[in-house]
Point group: C2
Chain length 476, copies 2
């Protein structure tokens, strides 16, 4: 087999990269659990008709077929019934899980879910075809109070705060509220809210002049109405001054609507809580419109500060109907972190690195093949106290065994006490007592007597740590 | 959307079940890392031609197609080039990963890998179509000493030992060595070793008489040769008496072969080490032949004691060529745990259960919607000290907030000090001081003053624990 080459769109990490990814996943899991979210996993496949309910994503779905089946009914691809596709997000499967298990769940149901998803997109524009998402949602049965729209982005803020000390740049979570934008538009007399949102969504791409034209053409907006919408979209800030500015705009333009008042009260409450609990992280940005056709209240996007070119690494919002079984509707609010996109940048830009790629803190040297059992006994004693250990692959010269550790970044080499050791050391040109175990810090060369029942490596050396890389904002 | 029903062959757990699965996965990960294995993940897909290299598994592979692509070239399914399938094990992807990244890895490479795999089998016979495997392997570049064949099953023994106290039954790891069987057969004069192995493999299913016929028909064995092979297959034991018995058999039947001597020395070394490090766990069983066509040295199967009907939950062996790039061949040894099969039995048979389904140890009550921020402050203080907390969904009567905790099995409800609390409590018929925070253990009703900066739940209540279920062998 010739050496295979990486497959575009399907990222894989070397062991060093996996240490960083695993660390990020562990921090996310721990943060979500500290906030009382229950971890679930769903199967990778859903019925194709469920995946295609929203139509527009159809091009992204990977359809599955058993090879056997394929050869017997090739060509019979017209029917979707019974066919399976890989999930392209964790929301569709979560909605199905909630309906399927509603009788066994307690609502509001707080769940997190960290899994791979697949999208059959052309990978040329840097998109992944397989990537890890970490979703966190609260779903109610029938109703869900607004305060969860305040809580959820603060959970995300907490998660990124917990990642900051390993070199992950800070995030800015941008929030908007559909009620504010819709209420403002309706107050202005613009009733085709979807068209307004679609137009505003293009602002960053095409600029205000083009959006004015779009608003006129698609939402029937006058020049004055379009100007008012653009003024709204220009509002941005981290505190309740935002609410004042919007209220002021509404007064000046005569945009009065009960939905606007509700939305502004909500947005104000979110900014107040954010100011107290995660100062500087959450910014109201009234031009955020992506997903506002789907979301019904708050909407969130998240940029990595200094890496805004990555786009949003964590998006979500409030939805009034995650699912419905005809009797009960399940509203929710949640966000989804693009873990692979984040980790890819952390590694690619040298923002975060591990201190070593392997878990082992210690290599136990082997003096002779006959005394390997002695080395194994030392390893067992160390592991029993939570120290990761491997035993050297062969009874090579100690210099070679030390190089084995060194190449892996393993800081300590343990020499068990054996009668043969003095001789073995002799080959290395160094005589030491063979009557006691000794451990060498191969970074400093320090070698000291040690008891496998008591010796502890420094905390920093026990496991690979994840630390800021050379390009992280913490390194100047 | 009507309530969906579970999909056969694609297991999903309720939150309670996921707690158990996550615990098992955490113990496996920790055990593997304590033994110095590096965690990697590979993409879910491989080129179809790589997946089908061994031919016989072709029926199990799920083939992928982008929906878009399918509609444009339906029927053009003759070419396998460039097509992708879901991996059906973690060995094929690992072999590819080793070749692809050989220049960046250090050998012997110790890796573990815990991921889902997919097999398009008919699910009626209780097989899963999607399941989690946990693989652990050591792979060398060019060579790999025998002692790794001793080490790997002992890593598995360690993992199950670590699971015993939560109610997972003990395992019995059955080992055989291809060299012993092949050497014995060749010593007898039976040179079609594959045919001999295939026949012996059927022993448990068809019995000795039928195997005698098979050996005659397929391997050309005389009655005496077949009888000798059956005597060998009958050898079973946990110590080096096994080696004596086989050597004795070989002498009696005149089966002399250097491969047999090598194999017996290896098997003896494994049993000696196992007797010292995991007494009673490893049993030599000379009839184990599954996979002996692929494996070249040791072969392992693992049964859960008392649940032998499950079949092997962890299999593997030594292979002389995991992969080869033409210049270097990579031999290895490893085992694969069928995590889903194991967890399915643990849950289905009531062997293991969690103390609760949610991470939260505490619900912080909300006295009034206006003072929710006070409750959030308490929650933040507790989380900062590693205590999982959620805040009650509404400022309902305290009785209802306590029921919220009770339904989830959350042991503690925290009442923040607020001026309103005396009134709110009053509705519950109980007056308490409103000047200090208090925490109630809702299982006992005990309620005591508490400081969010200092209070600790008992260790047993901090996180959901996984404990023996009613049917576990630990419960009499």
């Amino acid at each position: 087999m010739a050496r295979p080459t990486p497959m575009s769109g399907f990222p894989e990490w070397l062991p060093e990269g996996r240490v960083v990814e695993q660390y990020v996943l562990d921090v996310l899991r721990r943060t979500f659990e500290l906030h009382g979210f229950v971890g679930i996993e769903t199967r990778a496949v859903e019925p194709l008709d469920q995946l295609l309910r929203k139509g527009e994503t159809s091009k992204e779905v990977y359809v599955l077929r058993r090879l056997q089946e394929e050869s017997t009914d090739a060509g019979a691809d017209d029917g979707r019934a019974g066919r399976l596709g890989l999930h392209f997000d964790l929301t569709v499967p979560f909605a199905r899980y909630v309906l399927e298990n509603a009788g066994h769940l307690t609502f509001p149901f707080r769940r997190y879910q960290i899994q791979k998803v697949w999208r059959g997109e052309r990978p040329q524009d840097g998109r992944f075809r397989e990537f890890v998402q970490a979703d966190v949602d609260v779903v109610g049965a029938g109703e869900l109070p607004y305060h969860y729209e305040v809580e959820l982005p603060l959970v995300i803020a907490d998660a990124f705060a917990a990642l900051a000390d390993v070199g992950v740049p800070p995030v800015r979570i941008l929030v908007n509220n559909r009620r504010v934008v819709e209420g403002f538009a309706r107050g202005l007399g613009l009733d085709d809210v979807e068209a307004v949102l679609r137009s505003i969504d293009k602002l960053d791409k095409v600029g205000p002049a083009a959006v004015t034209e779009l608003l006129a053409a698609q939402a029937g907006a006058t020049v004055e109405q379009a100007a008012a919408m653009l003024e709204l979209a220009d509002v941005r800030g981290t505190d309740s001054a935002v609410v004042e500015r919007v209220a002021d705009l509404a007064r000046r333009h005569g945009a009065d609507d009960p939905l606007l008042s509700t939305g502004l009260a909500e947005l104000g409450a979110l900014l107040d809580a954010a100011g107290a609990r995660a100062p500087g992280v959450i910014t109201a940005d009234l031009k955020i419109a992506r997903g506002l056709d789907y979301y019904t209240g708050s909407v969130y996007e998240t940029v990595l500060v200094g890496h805004e070119d990555l786009g949003s690494i964590c998006s979500g919002g409030r939805y009034d109907s995650l699912a419905s079984d005809g009797t009960t509707t399940y509203p929710g609010v949640g966000l989804s972190i693009g873990v692979s996109r984040l980790v890819s940048r952390l590694l690619g830009a040298g923002l975060v690195r591990p201190t070593r790629a392997v878990p082992s803190a210690v290599v136990v040297a082997v003096t002779s093949q006959e005394t390997r059992a002695d080395s194994e006994r030392v390893a067992t004693a160390l592991r029993a106290r939570g120290i990761a250990v491997e035993v050297a692959p062969s009874a090579a010269k100690f210099g070679k065994q030390i190089r084995y550790a060194d190449r892996r970044g393993i800081p300590f080499v343990w020499f068990p006490a054996t009668p043969e050791r003095a001789d073995a050391d002799g080959k290395d040109g160094k005589q030491v007592s063979a009557t006691a175990d000794e451990v060498k810090d191969i970074r400093t060369g320090d070698q000291v007597p040690a008891d496998p029942e008591r010796w502890q490596p420094p905390d920093a050396d026990r496991w690979p740590r994840v630390v800021p890389g050379e390009s992280s904002p913490g390194i100047r």
